[in-house]
Protein backbone atom coordinates (compact mmCIF):
# COMPACT_ATOMS: atom_id res chain seq x y z
CA UNK A 1 0.00 0.00 0.00
CA UNK A 2 1.35 3.38 -1.07
CA UNK A 3 -0.03 6.88 -1.33
CA UNK A 4 0.69 8.38 -4.73
CA UNK A 5 -0.19 11.39 -6.82
CA UNK A 6 -2.53 10.43 -9.62
CA UNK A 7 -2.63 12.79 -12.60
CA UNK A 8 -5.62 12.56 -14.89
CA UNK A 9 -4.64 11.74 -18.44
CA UNK A 10 -8.00 10.90 -19.91
CA UNK A 11 -11.59 10.80 -18.66
CA UNK A 12 -14.31 9.80 -21.08
CA UNK A 13 -17.90 8.62 -20.90
CA UNK A 14 -18.06 5.06 -22.19
CA UNK A 15 -21.63 4.18 -21.24
CA UNK A 16 -24.50 6.05 -19.61
CA UNK A 17 -23.01 7.92 -16.61
CA UNK A 18 -20.03 5.58 -16.75
CA UNK A 19 -16.53 6.91 -17.26
CA UNK A 20 -13.19 5.37 -18.09
CA UNK A 21 -10.38 7.33 -16.52
CA UNK A 22 -6.68 6.95 -17.16
CA UNK A 23 -4.34 8.15 -14.45
CA UNK A 24 -0.60 8.63 -14.51
CA UNK A 25 0.41 7.11 -11.22
CA UNK A 26 3.57 5.45 -9.99
CA UNK A 27 1.75 2.48 -8.48
CA UNK A 28 2.97 -0.93 -7.29
CA UNK A 29 1.70 -3.98 -9.26
CA UNK A 30 -1.80 -5.15 -8.38
CA UNK A 31 -3.87 -8.31 -8.27
CA UNK A 32 -7.25 -8.09 -10.02
CA UNK A 33 -9.93 -7.44 -7.40
CA UNK A 34 -7.71 -5.05 -5.53
CA UNK A 35 -8.82 -1.45 -5.33
CA UNK A 36 -7.61 1.99 -4.52
CA UNK A 37 -8.94 4.77 -2.33
CA UNK A 38 -9.01 7.91 -4.44
CA UNK A 39 -9.00 11.36 -2.87
CA UNK A 40 -10.89 13.37 -5.43
CA UNK A 41 -10.81 16.85 -3.94
CA UNK A 42 -8.65 18.98 -1.71
CA UNK A 43 -11.39 20.64 0.33
CA UNK A 44 -13.32 18.87 3.09
CA UNK A 45 -16.58 18.13 1.26
CA UNK A 46 -16.73 15.33 0.30
CA UNK A 47 -14.36 14.34 3.08
CA UNK A 48 -13.51 10.71 2.47
CA UNK A 49 -11.73 8.95 -0.35
CA UNK A 50 -13.74 6.77 -2.71
CA UNK A 51 -13.05 3.05 -3.21
CA UNK A 52 -12.61 2.11 -6.86
CA UNK A 53 -11.38 -1.13 -8.35
CA UNK A 54 -8.21 -1.08 -10.40
CA UNK A 55 -9.09 -1.97 -13.96
CA UNK A 56 -5.59 -2.08 -15.37
CA UNK A 57 -2.07 -0.91 -14.69
CA UNK A 58 0.50 -0.71 -17.46
CA UNK A 59 3.71 1.03 -16.58
CA UNK A 60 2.57 4.12 -14.73
CA UNK A 61 -0.75 4.26 -16.51
CA UNK A 62 -3.65 3.15 -14.34
CA UNK A 63 -7.25 2.73 -15.47
CA UNK A 64 -10.44 2.98 -13.45
CA UNK A 65 -13.99 2.61 -14.67
CA UNK A 66 -16.68 4.26 -12.59
CA UNK A 67 -20.33 5.07 -12.56
CA UNK A 68 -21.58 8.47 -11.39
CA UNK A 69 -23.65 7.95 -8.24
CA UNK A 70 -23.27 10.89 -5.89
CA UNK A 71 -21.06 13.82 -5.00
CA UNK A 72 -17.70 12.07 -5.23
CA UNK A 73 -18.17 10.40 -8.57
CA UNK A 74 -19.78 13.60 -9.95
CA UNK A 75 -16.65 15.53 -9.09
CA UNK A 76 -14.63 12.75 -10.67
CA UNK A 77 -16.60 13.02 -13.88
CA UNK A 78 -15.68 16.71 -14.06
CA UNK A 79 -11.93 16.08 -13.98
CA UNK A 80 -9.80 17.06 -16.94
CA UNK A 81 -6.37 15.96 -18.09
CA UNK A 82 -3.77 17.48 -15.80
CA UNK A 83 -5.92 17.47 -12.69
CA UNK A 84 -4.17 15.92 -9.72
CA UNK A 85 -5.66 13.55 -7.15
CA UNK A 86 -4.24 11.20 -4.56
CA UNK A 87 -4.47 7.41 -4.76
CA UNK A 88 -3.92 5.01 -1.88
CA UNK A 89 -3.38 1.37 -2.82
CA UNK A 90 -3.35 -1.26 -4.01
CA UNK A 91 -5.73 -2.34 -1.25
CA UNK A 92 -7.48 -5.58 -0.37
CA UNK A 93 -6.67 -9.13 -1.32
CA UNK A 94 -7.80 -9.64 -4.93
CA UNK A 95 -9.01 -12.74 -6.73
CA UNK A 96 -7.21 -16.07 -6.82
CA UNK A 97 -5.92 -17.51 -10.08
CA UNK A 98 -7.99 -20.35 -11.55
CA UNK A 99 -6.48 -23.84 -11.38
CA UNK A 100 -4.97 -25.32 -14.54
CA UNK A 101 -7.90 -27.61 -15.29
CA UNK A 102 -10.61 -25.29 -14.00
CA UNK A 103 -12.95 -23.47 -16.31
CA UNK A 104 -12.99 -19.80 -15.25
CA UNK A 105 -16.35 -18.03 -15.33
CA UNK A 106 -16.38 -14.27 -14.83
CA UNK A 107 -19.67 -12.61 -14.09
CA UNK A 108 -20.31 -8.91 -13.51
CA UNK A 109 -23.40 -6.83 -12.89
CA UNK A 110 -23.53 -3.03 -12.90
CA UNK A 111 -20.47 -1.36 -11.35
CA UNK A 112 -19.11 -4.83 -10.62
CA UNK A 113 -17.44 -4.93 -14.03
CA UNK A 114 -14.01 -3.35 -13.34
CA UNK A 115 -12.48 -6.03 -11.08
CA UNK A 116 -13.98 -8.82 -13.18
CA UNK A 117 -12.68 -7.36 -16.41
CA UNK A 118 -9.28 -6.85 -14.82
CA UNK A 119 -9.19 -10.52 -13.89
CA UNK A 120 -10.34 -11.78 -17.31
CA UNK A 121 -7.72 -9.60 -18.98
CA UNK A 122 -5.05 -11.12 -16.77
CA UNK A 123 -6.09 -14.79 -16.92
CA UNK A 124 -7.01 -14.69 -20.61
CA UNK A 125 -9.13 -17.79 -20.75
CA UNK A 126 -12.66 -18.72 -19.71
CA UNK A 127 -16.10 -17.26 -20.15
CA UNK A 128 -17.43 -13.87 -19.18
CA UNK A 129 -21.00 -12.75 -18.59
CA UNK A 130 -21.87 -9.12 -18.18
CA UNK A 131 -25.37 -8.13 -17.11
CA UNK A 132 -26.82 -4.66 -17.50
CA UNK A 133 -30.14 -2.93 -17.80
CA UNK A 134 -29.80 -1.97 -21.43
CA UNK A 135 -27.33 -1.54 -24.24
CA UNK A 136 -26.28 1.93 -23.11
CA UNK A 137 -25.26 0.62 -19.72
CA UNK A 138 -22.60 -1.71 -21.10
CA UNK A 139 -19.22 -0.02 -21.21
CA UNK A 140 -16.22 -1.21 -23.21
CA UNK A 141 -18.00 -4.03 -25.05
CA UNK A 142 -15.42 -4.05 -27.83
CA UNK A 143 -12.66 -4.48 -25.34
CA UNK A 144 -14.54 -7.10 -23.32
CA UNK A 145 -15.48 -9.16 -26.33
CA UNK A 146 -12.00 -9.21 -27.80
CA UNK A 147 -10.04 -10.61 -24.88
CA UNK A 148 -8.18 -13.53 -26.39
CA UNK A 149 -9.53 -16.94 -25.35
CA UNK A 150 -12.28 -15.39 -23.27
CA UNK A 151 -15.75 -16.00 -24.60
CA UNK A 152 -17.89 -13.02 -23.59
CA UNK A 153 -21.65 -12.67 -23.60
CA UNK A 154 -23.96 -9.88 -22.46
CA UNK A 155 -27.44 -9.95 -21.02
CA UNK A 156 -29.73 -6.95 -20.77
CA UNK A 157 -32.95 -6.67 -18.83
CA UNK A 158 -34.65 -4.75 -21.62
CA UNK A 159 -33.29 -6.99 -24.34
CA UNK A 160 -31.62 -4.14 -26.20
CA UNK A 161 -28.31 -5.96 -26.39
CA UNK A 162 -27.19 -9.59 -26.11
CA UNK A 163 -29.59 -11.99 -24.51
CA UNK A 164 -32.70 -10.60 -22.83
CA UNK A 165 -32.76 -11.45 -19.14
CA UNK A 166 -30.50 -11.55 -16.14
CA UNK A 167 -26.83 -12.42 -16.01
CA UNK A 168 -27.65 -15.11 -13.45
CA UNK A 169 -29.93 -16.87 -15.93
CA UNK A 170 -27.14 -16.92 -18.50
CA UNK A 171 -24.87 -18.31 -15.79
CA UNK A 172 -27.28 -21.16 -15.13
CA UNK A 173 -27.33 -22.08 -18.81
CA UNK A 174 -23.57 -21.95 -18.91
CA UNK A 175 -23.18 -24.15 -15.84
CA UNK A 176 -25.49 -26.70 -17.43
CA UNK A 177 -23.24 -26.79 -20.49
CA UNK A 178 -19.93 -27.09 -18.73
CA UNK A 179 -18.74 -30.47 -17.52
CA UNK A 180 -15.29 -29.79 -16.08
CA UNK A 181 -14.77 -28.27 -12.59
CA UNK A 182 -15.27 -24.58 -12.72
CA UNK A 183 -14.60 -21.48 -10.64
CA UNK A 184 -16.92 -18.50 -10.71
CA UNK A 185 -15.63 -14.98 -10.10
CA UNK A 186 -18.42 -12.54 -9.44
CA UNK A 187 -18.92 -8.87 -8.62
CA UNK A 188 -22.15 -6.93 -8.63
CA UNK A 189 -25.20 -6.12 -6.53
CA UNK A 190 -25.63 -8.21 -3.38
CA UNK A 191 -28.81 -9.92 -4.60
CA UNK A 192 -27.02 -11.09 -7.71
CA UNK A 193 -24.07 -12.39 -5.71
CA UNK A 194 -26.37 -14.40 -3.45
CA UNK A 195 -28.07 -15.95 -6.45
CA UNK A 196 -24.71 -16.78 -8.02
CA UNK A 197 -23.55 -18.37 -4.77
CA UNK A 198 -26.67 -20.55 -4.78
CA UNK A 199 -25.99 -21.71 -8.32
CA UNK A 200 -22.33 -22.37 -7.61
CA UNK A 201 -23.39 -24.54 -4.71
CA UNK A 202 -25.92 -26.44 -6.83
CA UNK A 203 -23.48 -27.06 -9.63
CA UNK A 204 -20.55 -27.80 -7.34
CA UNK A 205 -18.46 -24.92 -8.66
CA UNK A 206 -16.01 -22.92 -6.60
CA UNK A 207 -17.02 -19.29 -6.24
CA UNK A 208 -15.29 -16.06 -5.29
CA UNK A 209 -17.25 -12.87 -4.83
CA UNK A 210 -16.01 -9.31 -4.51
CA UNK A 211 -18.14 -7.37 -2.04
CA UNK A 212 -18.93 -3.68 -1.72
CA UNK A 213 -19.47 -2.09 1.66
CA UNK A 214 -19.45 1.54 2.76
CA UNK A 215 -15.84 2.31 3.50
CA UNK A 216 -14.14 5.11 5.35
CA UNK A 217 -10.46 4.18 5.48
CA UNK A 218 -10.10 1.27 3.05
CA UNK A 219 -7.10 -0.20 4.86
CA UNK A 220 -8.53 -1.83 7.93
CA UNK A 221 -8.38 0.69 10.75
CA UNK A 222 -11.95 1.93 11.23
CA UNK A 223 -14.08 -1.27 11.19
CA UNK A 224 -16.71 0.38 9.00
CA UNK A 225 -16.89 -2.30 6.36
CA UNK A 226 -17.47 -5.57 8.15
CA UNK A 227 -19.19 -8.59 6.72
CA UNK A 228 -20.18 -11.69 8.63
CA UNK A 229 -18.63 -14.95 7.54
CA UNK A 230 -19.25 -18.44 8.86
CA UNK A 231 -16.22 -18.01 11.11
CA UNK A 232 -16.20 -14.42 12.27
CA UNK A 233 -16.76 -10.91 11.07
CA UNK A 234 -14.24 -9.62 8.54
CA UNK A 235 -13.22 -6.27 7.17
CA UNK A 236 -14.15 -6.10 3.52
CA UNK A 237 -11.39 -3.62 2.77
CA UNK A 238 -8.51 -5.45 4.38
CA UNK A 239 -9.57 -9.09 4.49
CA UNK A 240 -11.59 -8.78 1.28
CA UNK A 241 -13.08 -7.45 -0.90
CA UNK A 242 -12.83 -10.95 -2.39
CA UNK A 243 -14.28 -13.78 -0.31
CA UNK A 244 -15.05 -17.43 -0.77
CA UNK A 245 -18.75 -17.09 -1.58
CA UNK A 246 -19.69 -20.03 0.62
CA UNK A 247 -18.17 -18.41 3.71
CA UNK A 248 -20.42 -15.32 3.56
CA UNK A 249 -23.42 -15.04 5.85
CA UNK A 250 -25.69 -13.05 3.55
CA UNK A 251 -28.02 -10.46 5.07
CA UNK A 252 -31.74 -11.16 4.79
Amino acid sequence: MKEREAVVQDNREVATDTFLMTLACDFPPFTPGQFLMLRINSTCDPFLRRPLAILSLKGDSLEILYKVKGSGTSLLAGKRPGDVMSALGPLGNGFSTPGQDEEAIYIAGGTGLPPILALAEKVRRGRLIIGAFGENDIPLWNRISSIRDVHAQATTEDGSFGKKGLATEALKDLLHEISQPSIIYACGPEGMLREITEQARMFGARCEVSLEEYMACGFGVCSACVVKTSEDSRKVCAQGPVFDAFSIKWRD
Binding site: E3, R39, D45, L48, Y214, A216, F219, C222, V227, A238
Partner: protein, 303 residues
Amino acid sequence: MDISVRITPSLTLKNPVLSASGTFAYGEEFSRLFDLSLLGGVVTKGLSLLPKEGNPTPRICETSSGLINAIGLENIGADAFIAEKLPFLRQFDTSIVVNFFGTSEEEYVLMAEKLDIEGISALEMNVSCPNIKKGGIEFGKDPHVLRRLTANVRSATSKPLFVKLSPMVTQIGEMALAAQEGGADALTCANTFPAMAINEKTCRPILGNVTGGLSGPAIKPIALKIVWEVSKQACIPVIASGGITTWRDVVQFLLAGASAVEIGSASLRDPLCFTEIIRGFADYMREKGLKSVSELIGKLKTD
Protein backbone atom coordinates in the same frame (compact mmCIF):
# COMPACT_ATOMS: atom_id res chain seq x y z
CA MET B 1 13.60 23.86 20.08
CA ASP B 2 11.75 21.21 22.04
CA ILE B 3 8.42 19.99 20.77
CA SER B 4 7.71 17.58 23.61
CA VAL B 5 4.90 18.22 26.07
CA ARG B 6 4.64 17.11 29.66
CA ILE B 7 1.18 15.85 30.53
CA THR B 8 1.91 14.43 34.01
CA PRO B 9 5.15 14.01 35.92
CA SER B 10 5.39 10.47 34.56
CA LEU B 11 4.13 11.16 31.05
CA THR B 12 5.88 13.34 28.52
CA LEU B 13 4.81 13.07 24.90
CA LYS B 14 7.59 13.53 22.36
CA ASN B 15 5.33 15.87 20.46
CA PRO B 16 1.72 17.00 20.87
CA VAL B 17 0.25 14.84 18.06
CA LEU B 18 -1.51 11.58 18.93
CA SER B 19 -3.73 9.27 16.97
CA ALA B 20 -7.36 9.21 18.14
CA SER B 21 -9.20 6.19 19.39
CA GLY B 22 -11.07 4.14 16.82
CA THR B 23 -9.38 5.44 13.71
CA PHE B 24 -5.99 3.84 14.29
CA ALA B 25 -7.08 0.32 15.28
CA TYR B 26 -4.09 -1.08 17.20
CA GLY B 27 -1.44 0.52 15.03
CA GLU B 28 -0.43 -2.35 12.75
CA GLU B 29 -1.91 -0.99 9.54
CA PHE B 30 -0.42 2.46 10.01
CA SER B 31 2.96 0.97 10.86
CA ARG B 32 3.16 -0.20 7.26
CA LEU B 33 2.87 3.41 6.13
CA PHE B 34 5.20 5.22 8.48
CA ASP B 35 7.28 4.74 11.60
CA LEU B 36 4.96 4.99 14.59
CA SER B 37 7.89 6.23 16.67
CA LEU B 38 7.42 9.66 15.22
CA LEU B 39 4.04 10.08 16.93
CA GLY B 40 3.52 11.88 20.20
CA GLY B 41 1.40 8.91 21.12
CA VAL B 42 -0.90 6.20 19.90
CA VAL B 43 -4.42 5.99 21.30
CA THR B 44 -5.86 2.54 20.76
CA LYS B 45 -9.34 1.54 19.69
CA GLY B 46 -11.66 1.57 22.72
CA LEU B 47 -11.36 -1.70 24.63
CA SER B 48 -13.89 -3.53 26.75
CA LEU B 49 -13.60 -6.45 29.14
CA LEU B 50 -14.93 -8.92 26.60
CA PRO B 51 -14.58 -8.72 22.81
CA LYS B 52 -17.42 -6.71 21.28
CA GLU B 53 -19.07 -7.27 17.92
CA GLY B 54 -20.29 -3.80 17.06
CA ASN B 55 -23.31 -2.60 15.11
CA PRO B 56 -24.91 -3.77 11.88
CA THR B 57 -23.67 -2.10 8.69
CA PRO B 58 -23.73 0.52 7.26
CA ARG B 59 -21.58 1.79 10.09
CA ILE B 60 -20.33 4.93 8.40
CA CYS B 61 -22.06 7.73 6.58
CA GLU B 62 -20.40 10.71 5.09
CA THR B 63 -21.85 14.18 5.68
CA SER B 64 -20.71 17.64 4.63
CA SER B 65 -17.11 17.91 5.85
CA GLY B 66 -17.65 15.12 8.31
CA LEU B 67 -18.71 11.59 8.91
CA ILE B 68 -21.06 9.82 11.23
CA ASN B 69 -19.86 6.54 12.66
CA ALA B 70 -21.80 3.88 14.44
CA ILE B 71 -19.11 1.23 14.67
CA GLY B 72 -20.57 0.23 18.02
CA LEU B 73 -17.26 0.03 19.85
CA GLU B 74 -16.26 -3.20 18.15
CA ASN B 75 -13.00 -4.39 19.68
CA ILE B 76 -11.01 -7.50 20.45
CA GLY B 77 -11.28 -7.16 24.23
CA ALA B 78 -8.64 -6.32 26.82
CA ASP B 79 -7.08 -9.76 27.06
CA ALA B 80 -6.51 -10.17 23.35
CA PHE B 81 -5.14 -6.64 23.21
CA ILE B 82 -2.62 -7.35 25.94
CA ALA B 83 -1.62 -10.67 24.42
CA GLU B 84 -1.60 -9.86 20.73
CA LYS B 85 -1.39 -6.12 20.14
CA LEU B 86 0.50 -4.53 23.01
CA PRO B 87 3.79 -6.36 22.33
CA PHE B 88 3.69 -5.07 18.77
CA LEU B 89 3.04 -1.48 19.83
CA ARG B 90 5.78 -1.60 22.46
CA GLN B 91 8.39 -1.93 19.73
CA PHE B 92 7.92 1.72 18.94
CA ASP B 93 9.37 4.64 20.80
CA THR B 94 6.07 6.37 21.47
CA SER B 95 3.53 6.68 24.26
CA ILE B 96 0.78 4.09 24.28
CA VAL B 97 -2.54 5.36 25.50
CA VAL B 98 -5.19 2.69 25.91
CA ASN B 99 -8.76 3.85 25.41
CA PHE B 100 -11.36 1.82 27.30
CA PHE B 101 -14.97 1.75 28.40
CA GLY B 102 -17.47 -0.28 30.36
CA THR B 103 -21.18 -0.60 30.74
CA SER B 104 -21.09 -0.43 34.53
CA GLU B 105 -18.84 1.18 37.08
CA GLU B 106 -17.51 -2.23 38.05
CA GLU B 107 -16.52 -2.97 34.49
CA TYR B 108 -14.66 0.34 34.21
CA VAL B 109 -12.79 -0.42 37.42
CA LEU B 110 -11.95 -3.95 36.32
CA MET B 111 -10.62 -2.62 33.06
CA ALA B 112 -8.44 -0.06 34.80
CA GLU B 113 -6.97 -2.81 36.98
CA LYS B 114 -6.39 -5.12 34.06
CA LEU B 115 -4.64 -2.41 32.06
CA ASP B 116 -2.35 -1.36 34.91
CA ILE B 117 0.57 -3.16 33.32
CA GLU B 118 3.98 -2.37 31.92
CA GLY B 119 4.16 -0.92 28.46
CA ILE B 120 1.00 1.12 28.73
CA SER B 121 1.76 4.83 29.13
CA ALA B 122 -1.70 6.10 30.06
CA LEU B 123 -5.37 5.21 30.03
CA GLU B 124 -8.08 7.18 28.27
CA MET B 125 -11.52 6.58 29.70
CA ASN B 126 -14.38 6.93 27.23
CA VAL B 127 -17.45 8.01 29.19
CA SER B 128 -19.79 8.47 26.22
CA CYS B 129 -21.22 5.03 26.90
CA PRO B 130 -24.57 4.24 28.33
CA ASN B 131 -24.57 3.11 31.93
CA ILE B 132 -26.64 0.00 31.51
CA LYS B 133 -27.34 -0.29 35.23
CA LYS B 134 -28.59 3.28 35.44
CA GLY B 135 -31.18 3.10 32.69
CA GLY B 136 -28.84 3.73 29.82
CA ILE B 137 -27.90 7.34 30.45
CA GLU B 138 -24.31 8.11 29.54
CA PHE B 139 -21.67 8.22 32.29
CA GLY B 140 -20.41 11.43 30.73
CA LYS B 141 -23.67 13.31 31.12
CA ASP B 142 -24.04 13.58 34.89
CA PRO B 143 -21.31 15.29 36.91
CA HIS B 144 -21.97 13.24 40.06
CA VAL B 145 -21.80 9.96 38.21
CA LEU B 146 -18.69 11.09 36.38
CA ARG B 147 -16.90 12.24 39.53
CA ARG B 148 -17.53 8.94 41.27
CA LEU B 149 -16.63 6.87 38.26
CA THR B 150 -13.38 8.79 37.82
CA ALA B 151 -12.48 8.47 41.49
CA ASN B 152 -13.05 4.73 41.48
CA VAL B 153 -11.09 4.20 38.31
CA ARG B 154 -8.40 6.50 39.61
CA SER B 155 -7.78 4.32 42.64
CA ALA B 156 -7.73 1.17 40.53
CA THR B 157 -4.72 2.14 38.42
CA SER B 158 -1.30 3.72 38.74
CA LYS B 159 -1.40 5.03 35.16
CA PRO B 160 -2.05 8.61 34.16
CA LEU B 161 -5.79 8.80 33.51
CA PHE B 162 -7.35 10.86 30.70
CA VAL B 163 -11.12 11.29 30.84
CA LYS B 164 -12.63 11.76 27.40
CA LEU B 165 -15.67 14.01 27.75
CA SER B 166 -18.95 13.88 25.88
CA PRO B 167 -19.33 17.21 24.09
CA MET B 168 -23.11 17.46 24.00
CA VAL B 169 -23.73 18.76 27.51
CA THR B 170 -25.15 21.97 28.91
CA GLN B 171 -22.10 22.87 30.99
CA ILE B 172 -18.96 21.22 29.72
CA GLY B 173 -16.97 23.06 32.38
CA GLU B 174 -18.95 21.34 35.11
CA MET B 175 -18.19 17.92 33.61
CA ALA B 176 -14.53 18.84 33.31
CA LEU B 177 -14.36 19.84 36.96
CA ALA B 178 -16.16 16.67 38.00
CA ALA B 179 -13.55 14.55 36.24
CA GLN B 180 -10.76 16.67 37.67
CA GLU B 181 -12.12 16.33 41.20
CA GLY B 182 -12.41 12.61 40.63
CA GLY B 183 -8.68 12.55 40.02
CA ALA B 184 -8.31 12.68 36.25
CA ASP B 185 -4.85 13.66 35.06
CA ALA B 186 -6.04 15.08 31.75
CA LEU B 187 -9.26 15.74 29.86
CA THR B 188 -9.78 14.72 26.27
CA CYS B 189 -12.15 17.21 24.62
CA ALA B 190 -14.14 15.79 23.15
CA ASN B 191 -15.87 12.77 21.70
CA THR B 192 -18.19 12.76 18.66
CA PHE B 193 -21.58 14.53 18.55
CA PRO B 194 -24.81 12.50 18.45
CA ALA B 195 -26.03 12.68 14.88
CA MET B 196 -28.02 10.86 12.24
CA ALA B 197 -28.56 10.61 8.49
CA ILE B 198 -31.66 9.67 6.55
CA ASN B 199 -32.17 8.33 3.05
CA GLU B 200 -35.20 10.18 1.68
CA LYS B 201 -35.68 7.62 -1.07
CA THR B 202 -36.17 4.69 1.28
CA CYS B 203 -37.45 6.78 4.24
CA ARG B 204 -34.97 4.91 6.41
CA PRO B 205 -31.96 5.88 8.47
CA ILE B 206 -28.69 5.34 6.63
CA LEU B 207 -26.82 3.83 9.55
CA GLY B 208 -27.61 0.31 10.68
CA ASN B 209 -27.72 1.68 14.23
CA VAL B 210 -30.01 4.61 13.25
CA THR B 211 -27.83 7.16 15.05
CA GLY B 212 -24.09 7.62 15.41
CA GLY B 213 -21.41 10.16 16.26
CA LEU B 214 -20.34 13.06 14.05
CA SER B 215 -16.62 13.74 13.61
CA GLY B 216 -14.35 15.53 11.17
CA PRO B 217 -13.76 19.16 10.15
CA ALA B 218 -17.49 19.90 10.45
CA ILE B 219 -17.22 19.86 14.25
CA LYS B 220 -13.87 21.59 14.57
CA PRO B 221 -15.24 25.06 15.43
CA ILE B 222 -17.34 23.58 18.25
CA ALA B 223 -14.46 21.47 19.55
CA LEU B 224 -12.21 24.54 19.57
CA LYS B 225 -14.73 26.42 21.69
CA ILE B 226 -15.03 23.47 24.08
CA VAL B 227 -11.26 23.25 24.51
CA TRP B 228 -11.06 26.97 25.17
CA GLU B 229 -13.91 26.77 27.70
CA VAL B 230 -12.56 23.70 29.52
CA SER B 231 -8.97 24.84 29.66
CA LYS B 232 -10.04 28.10 31.27
CA GLN B 233 -11.87 26.21 34.00
CA ALA B 234 -9.80 23.10 34.61
CA CYS B 235 -6.24 23.08 35.90
CA ILE B 236 -5.23 19.74 34.40
CA PRO B 237 -4.04 19.41 30.78
CA VAL B 238 -6.54 19.23 27.95
CA ILE B 239 -6.08 16.92 24.96
CA ALA B 240 -8.03 18.20 21.98
CA SER B 241 -10.04 16.02 19.60
CA GLY B 242 -12.41 17.09 16.87
CA GLY B 243 -11.80 17.87 13.23
CA ILE B 244 -8.07 18.39 13.32
CA THR B 245 -6.62 17.92 9.84
CA THR B 246 -3.62 20.25 9.50
CA TRP B 247 -0.72 21.62 11.55
CA ARG B 248 -2.60 24.91 11.56
CA ASP B 249 -5.42 23.23 13.43
CA VAL B 250 -2.90 21.87 15.94
CA VAL B 251 -1.57 25.35 16.63
CA GLN B 252 -5.09 26.73 16.96
CA PHE B 253 -6.08 24.09 19.50
CA LEU B 254 -2.90 24.67 21.51
CA LEU B 255 -3.55 28.41 21.51
CA ALA B 256 -7.06 27.67 22.76
CA GLY B 257 -5.55 25.78 25.68
CA ALA B 258 -4.87 22.19 24.62
CA SER B 259 -1.58 20.54 25.58
CA ALA B 260 -1.84 17.94 22.84
CA VAL B 261 -4.20 16.85 20.09
CA GLU B 262 -5.64 13.66 18.69
CA ILE B 263 -6.17 13.10 14.98
CA GLY B 264 -9.08 10.86 14.07
CA SER B 265 -11.14 11.26 10.91
CA ALA B 266 -8.37 13.06 9.05
CA SER B 267 -6.21 9.96 9.25
CA LEU B 268 -8.94 7.89 7.60
CA ARG B 269 -8.74 10.16 4.61
CA ASP B 270 -5.01 10.82 4.68
CA PRO B 271 -3.15 8.15 6.60
CA LEU B 272 0.11 10.01 6.09
CA CYS B 273 -1.23 13.25 7.53
CA PHE B 274 0.59 12.58 10.81
CA THR B 275 3.99 13.06 9.27
CA GLU B 276 2.92 16.24 7.50
CA ILE B 277 1.25 17.64 10.59
CA ILE B 278 4.20 17.00 12.87
CA ARG B 279 6.63 18.44 10.35
CA GLY B 280 4.42 21.49 9.75
CA PHE B 281 4.06 22.05 13.46
CA ALA B 282 7.80 21.90 14.05
CA ASP B 283 8.36 24.34 11.19
CA TYR B 284 5.84 26.73 12.69
CA MET B 285 7.59 26.60 16.07
CA ARG B 286 10.91 27.22 14.38
CA GLU B 287 9.66 30.11 12.27
CA LYS B 288 7.99 31.76 15.25
CA GLY B 289 11.19 31.27 17.25
CA LEU B 290 9.43 29.30 19.96
CA LYS B 291 11.59 27.26 22.30
CA SER B 292 8.95 25.06 23.86
CA VAL B 293 5.37 24.06 23.25
CA SER B 294 4.36 25.70 26.51
CA GLU B 295 4.89 29.06 24.81
CA LEU B 296 1.81 28.25 22.72
CA ILE B 297 -0.53 26.47 25.11
CA GLY B 298 -3.42 28.75 26.05
CA LYS B 299 -1.66 31.77 24.59
CA LEU B 300 -4.63 33.01 22.58
CA LYS B 301 -4.69 36.81 22.72
CA THR B 302 -8.22 38.03 23.33
CA ASP B 303 -7.60 41.59 24.40
